[in-house]
């Protein structure tokens, strides 16, 4: 400890290492009270090996661990300020649009993937190695300490942080025997030495500390395992429709590097009903209150159908996977007829919600079966805006006023031509690619667009056909996740908390009792305590023990001489 003018140290004033220099009196008695590594700034050896050893020592030292911890907390920050691909890819795209000049740098620094970036990984890998490099020798050392015995009493007990003494008529042997039973009874580990009993307690502190750090490693391993083997798929299901758990059924599917699609557990379900309730009045009008998806679920390939409910906080658990209810929305049912009056299309078309009141957008794509007035094959496309609760005529905007379907209206823009679905490029089902399409025109040449209420039909210009808003269906999105290792992570977390509690709340301390015959034949008893930390509890405990022992070896009448000399008492504290 270089600076001694520093403020009083708290609980962790380990009297090891440099501290022991300041108080050589303690010697072995103060040694090994913890397994904290001793800071070494020792000279560097020669050659590569010397440097490697130096590097290793530095990496596993407390100081570097501290710096790495601090770096880790700093490194985690940018990911909360800049949108992350893994959290919300749309936001990343928006950010890039708003800050074009920063995109280059941000991408180089992997700022959109902070938590898998090279620099974040570097910090935590180093920390991980440092942790292991620290834990191993400490565990080893601790195992040794567990087998060892409490060290013998130092020569001068009155130099210890807490000390007491008195004279008694009992013989030293009697006193020491009492002391040993007393300390043993308090679950101290005791060892008799010459004229004294040494005792130690609180090994659980160190054990707790080691358990905590090992638990950190277990949690890191569990996270890594989860990353490699996880899978997560999303699926939009219309009311009345079903889903079975195979790769091809998913709308999107993400998985870890070592995931095998064969591992998907076989199950299926049908969405029977979806209920949503919203706040109807007040300032929070429209805030969702309750979502429930009612499904008919079959476990395994040919399981018996069962009725189940899935709610936001209550996923359906199947064989290591969980089915979560994520979102919901509306799917207007649209039918289209060709000029001859034949229905060429009828479907419920899911719309993508844009805001909390479920203003939604989507696209209706008539790919097959339509022939125009001249009998030529053509494709039709409609870009749609849907609002479950329309503001009313003259209110203009297509912004929903409430998330429930109280006054549903759909607005359609009609196009014809080629949808471009054969180009091979994947298409967004909610968007129309109008690059090879022409919009229908009104007679005056304005683009053709119309709003429809349920049951209403619009007629396309030039007798190109009709479009009917038949009704409304609902849909819900589900996410099926399989995340192995979470059990292990939880076990690690629980162990971490238990270890932490032990490490922070238990004191490791030593107590010595010495009894020697005094000059006048009366026995002098001395008791002293030493903790890893300078804590108020140690003197209290010592006082308590002394009082108990004192009852068995009471103070001798002060006939002969004064009490043993004490060092200048002065001041008072507390």
């Amino acid at each position: 400890m270089s600076k001694t003018d520093n403020a009083p140290t708290g609980t962790d004033n380990a009297p090891t290492g440099a501290d022991a220099e300041a108080e050589p009196v303690l010697g072995a008695a103060g040694a090994q009270l913890s397994t904290a590594p001793v800071e070494d700034s020792g000279p560097v050896g020669i050659g590569v090996l010397g440097w490697a050893r130096w590097f290793w020592r530095q990496l596993t030292s407390m100081r570097v661990a501290l710096i790495l911890l601090f770096l880790l907390s700093l490194a985690a920050i940018p990911g909360s300020l800049i949108p992350q691909t893994s959290v919300d890819a749309m936001k990343v795209a928006a950010w890039k649009k708003d800050n074009p000049s920063w995109v280059g740098i941000a991408e180089k620094l992997q700022l959109f993937d902070v938590y898998s970036s090279f620099w974040f990984s570097a910090v935590y890998l180093l920390l991980f190695i440092s942790l292991i490099g620290c834990i191993l020798p400490r565990s080893w050392q601790f195992a040794g300490q567990l087998r060892g015995r409490p060290p013998a009493a130092p020569k001068r007990l009155d130099r210890l942080p807490a000390h007491t003494t008195w004279r008694t008529d009992r013989t030293p042997d009697e006193v020491l025997a009492h002391a040993k039973t007393l300390l043993g009874g308090r679950r101290f580990r005791t060892e008799s030495g010459e004229n004294h009993v040494a005792a130690e307690k609180g090994y659980l502190r160190e054990a707790g500390n080691l358990i905590f750090h090992v638990a950190l490693i277990v949690m890191l391993v569990a996270f890594a395992w989860g990353q490699y083997f996880k899978s997560e798929g999303g699926k939009l299901v219309l009311r009345g429709k079903g889903f079975s758990n195979t790769l091809t059924q998913y709308d999107d599917f993400k998985y870890g590097a070592l995931f095998d699609p064969q591992d998907l557990p076989p199950f299926s379900f049908t969405l029977d009903r979806f209920d949503a309730t919203y706040e109807e009045t007040g300032p929070q009008k429209g805030t969702p209150r309750d979502f429930t998806a009612y499904v008919t679920f079959s476990d395994g390939a040919h399981g018996k159908p069962q009725k189940r409910e899935i709610q936001v906080n209550k996923p359906l658990k199947v064989d290591g996977s969980k089915v979560y209810l994520l979102g919901h929305g509306y799917a207007p049912v649209i039918s289209v007829t060709d000029p001859a009056g034949t229905v060429v299309y009828k479907d419920a078309v899911p719309m993508l919600p844009q805001d909390a009141n479920l203003t939604s957008r989507g696209a209706i794509k008539v790919t097959d079966g339509y022939r125009n007035k001249n009998g030529e094959k053509e494709q039709l496309g409609f870009s749609a805006q849907f609002v479950p609760t329309f503001a009313g005529k003259g209110q203009g905007t297509m912004l929903s006023q409430f998330p429930a379907a109280n006054f549903p209206v759909i607005a359609l823009n009609a196009f014809h031509g080629s949808l471009g679905v054969d180009s091979g490029l994947p298409q967004n089902v909610y968007q129309l690619d109008t690059s090879k399409m022409q919009q229908f025109k009104k007679e005056n040449g304005d683009p053709f667009a119309q709003m429809l209420l349920p049951g209403e039909t619009m007629t396309l210009p030039d007798g190109a056909g009709t479009v009917k808003f038949e009704g409304i269906e609902r849909w819900a999105t589900f996410s099926v996740t399989h995340q192995p290792g979470s059990g292990l992570a939880l076990a690690g977390a629980i162990a971490a908390i238990a270890g932490l509690a032990g490490s922070l709340f238990i004191q490791r301390r030593r107590i010595w009792v010495r009894a020697v015959p005094g000059k006048d034949g009366v026995t002098v008893v001395e008791m002293a305590g030493l903790g890893r930390s300078e804590s108020a509890k140690l003197p209290e405990e010592l006082a308590e023990l002394a009082a108990t022992l004192h009852r068995q070896a009471p103070t001798a009448p002060p006939a002969v001489s004064a009490e043993p000399v004490e060092e200048t008492p002065e001041g008072e504290r507390g």
Binding site: M1, S2, K3, D5, A7, P8, T9, G10, T11, N13, A14, E39, M62, R63, L69, F70, S73, A76, S80, L81, S86, L160, P161, A162, T164, W166, F223, E232, A276, T277, E279, G282, P283, Q284, T287, R289, D290, F291, V312, N313, Y324, A404, T481, A493, I494, L500, L504, V525, M527, E534, P539, A543, A547, H550, P554, T555, E566, E570, G571, G574
Partner: protein
């Protein structure tokens, strides 16, 4: 749509508001009583710290000597016998009982704690007691406000930032009162605590106020009770630890200046002289932070389990999660700093304050400025 399951009981919500406003009024009175306590206390001229550090009263022989031969302290407490004779200052009990002598570790300043805000003056002490009684009364009113709020919506009263804020200060004051009841030396905290509680409540009623209402589906879970209550508790108690750390820094600077032979300004000496010693404040702050750290760890884990149930992943680096993690790592950093040579004392205290700043940012900053899955703050 079906009507609400439980319509907010407007009446109870109104009562809750009245209770919170009344508690603010009473906290205000407590604030003035504390000011009176500090003012009367400033008339005392004790200057024990200076005496201890400069050897004025024949105490420890100054700095250099102290390192070699630290001063010895006698605990007047005598011995606590199991019969409960306790710490009688009386001499008869001590005569035939062993006395425990404690000594501080090498290199520590041996400074007695200051006399407290009242500075040993009778009037100051009276006002201090009045302030504490008022604080206790305000606490009861505020706690009543929180409970009425909970009853008005029949759920845990932790659905938005207004509700977090009123619970937050209730818990902080409750923790302070419990420490006082346990006869811990925390009276020095009174003025700061009451001031910040007023600030917190002021922000809550003017900017964060939200009418009492139901919760969004993601919050319908018993994890709300577990995770949010521990989070609020941790924040409130971390606050007390941070207050200790700030005062430690001031007091430590003051002691260091005295030890160097400097003369601190009059205001500084008057106020800082009356605080506990830097050593006591440092220990206080450490104990509080260390005691809460395991609970904070638990809070994060409980949150992860809840996220696993609600969103299908237990950790997704949502801004709220990021900042909880940063706060956790910062406190772990602080605990390590305390165990590392060369990092103890002031540097560790700065880390503790950094950690608490992260907590505060996670509460105000992340809830208001950053959007993520946790955006149900109702602001």
């Amino acid at each position: 749509m079906t009507p609400l399951a439980a319509a907010a009981n407007e009446n109870l919500a109104q009562i809750s508001n009245y209770l919170v406003y009344s508690s603010m009024a009473v906290y205000m009175l407590a604030f003035f009583a504390h000011i009176a306590e500090w003012t009367f206390g400033s008339r005392s001229k004790v200057a024990r710290t200076a005496a201890a550090l400069t050897g004025g009263a024949g105490a420890g022989a100054g700095d250099a000597a102290a390192a070699a031969a630290p001063a010895v302290q006698v605990r007047r407490k005598g011995v606590r016998s199991s019969s409960g004779a306790g710490e009688t200052g009386g001499s008869t009990a001590v005569l035939d009982q062993p006395k425990v002598v404690t000594r501080s570790a090498a290199g520590t300043r041996d400074v007695p704690d200051g006399p407290g805000a009242a500075g040993g003056t009778v009037q100051g002490d009276l006002y201090g007691r009045i302030a504490i009684s008022l604080t206790a009364l305000a606490f009861l009113l505020e706690a009543g406000g929180v409970v009425a709020r909970a009853m008005s919506v029949q759920r845990a009263p932790w659905g938005n930032m207004y509700e977090f804020s009123i619970t937050f200060s209730t818990v902080a004051v409750g923790a302070y009162l419990v420490l006082l009841a346990l006869k811990k030396n925390v009276r020095w905290l009174g003025l700061i605590l009451v001031t910040t509680v007023l600030l917190d409540l002021g922000i809550a009623v003017t900017w964060l106020y939200t009418d009492s209402d139901q919760l969004v589906p993601a919050l319908h879970s018993y994890w709300l009770w577990i995770h949010v209550s521990t989070a609020i508790f941790c924040g409130a108690v971390f606050y007390i630890g941070a207050a200790g750390a700030v005062l430690y820094l001031f007091r430590d600077g003051y002691e260091a200046k005295l030890a160097r032979g400097g003369t601190p300004g009059r205001f500084a000496s008057s106020v800082l002289e009356r605080l506990p010693s830097a050593g006591s404040l440092d220990k206080f702050s450490y104990r509080i932070n260390a005691a809460v750290f395991p609970l904070w760890t638990f809070t994060i884990i409980a949150g992860a389990i809840w996220a696993g149930d609600a969103w299908g992943r237990y950790w997704g680096w949502d801004p709220k999660e990021v900042w909880s993690f940063v706060t956790w790592v910062a406190y772990a950093c602080y605990l390590h700093a305390r165990a590392t040579a060369g990092w103890k004392g002031r540097k560790a205290a700065y880390l503790a304050l950094f950690a608490f700043a992260c907590w505060i940012w996670n509460y105000y900053g992340v809830n208001i400025l950053l959007s993520g899955k946790h955006s149900y703050a109702g602001v």
